[in-house]
Amino acid sequence: MKKQFFKIPIIFFTFILSIFLYLLIIDRNPSEIPSNLLNKNVPKFVTKSLFNSKKFFSEEEFGNETTIVNFFATWCKPCRDEHVYIKGFAKEKKVRVIGINYKDDPEKAIQWLKEFGNPYSNVAIDKNGKIAIDWGVYGIPETFLISSNAIIQYRHVGPITKKIYKKINLIIEKTD
């Protein structure tokens, strides 16, 4: 009985070690924090639109079809890297793509989109970063997938890569 009792710490240690090993092996980014807004409604906000004098009303933009929301800025190098994939989403026409221009100069942003191509059907201006805080954004680029009933389905922190692009497309198919 006593011998078995002394086995408990060894079992505990092996159990904890196997958890650590499992976390090391699986494909995950330990610094990525899961969004608290998943499966919740899109935050409501009103702001200026980048391209026209009309205001950007979130309630009008979300809730009609599956939408991708991309927080970007011209000063953000990874945003340029992922831009090809954002254009890919727009080209495939499965979803609507909305941009939120984060803490940027609007004129530079217009120029940037002219240069690299504009995949966004509308771009909201987040001049002081308050919209980003409402979305729980902590490091741009960040991309959200919104269902047709305005629920946040998925969030990706960092630039979209080929792998993430495929992953988001799979989620879009499931959402449809």
Partner: protein
């Protein structure tokens, strides 16, 4: 020898100075001292989501500054501390709190160290009894 002492004193001074390193900029500080103190206390409990190991009071990241300003705005709007914490956790989750709350999903985090301590203590007591018996037998 003198140089050694000087180095030790300098290291200690740097150490003490580091404790008072805050990222709060003069234009962020509220005129009302009580409100400012509240803002500082809340900021010290809020994790910088960019640096992740610093509070927003210590971090010079852009998001940390935005959150410090937001907290001060909410204090000026006469929001209570709980309301401010709720505003932040609604958006960033409990992870934004440097001290995790005592909740069903954090039970393991709070109780496991205690459980391990009890197990350790138990093992020490049993071992103690065993060794006493051995000594008696000798």
């Amino acid at each position: 020898m003198k140089n050694k002492n000087l180095i030790i004193i300098m290291c200690l001074l740097i150490q003490f100075n580091l404790h008072d390193c805050y990222a709060v900029e003069p234009n962020e500080i509220l005129k009302n001292a009580k409100q400012e103190e509240r803002a500082r206390n809340i900021s010290k409990n809020i994790r910088c989501m960019v640096c992740q190991n610093q509070s927003i009071d210590e971090s010079s990241a852009s998001l940390a500054k935005d959150l410090r300003i937001l907290i001060r705005e909410q204090i000026k709007d006469k929001k209570k501390d709980d309301e401010i914490y709720k505003f932040l956790t609604d958006r960033y989750g409990d992870y934004i709190l440097l001290k995790p709350p005592f909740k069903p999903n954090t039970l393991a985090l709070w109780l496991l160290p205690l459980i391990f301590c009890i197990i350790g203590l138990f093992i020490v007591i049993i071992n103690n009894k065993k060794s006493k018996k051995l000594i008696k037998n000798i």
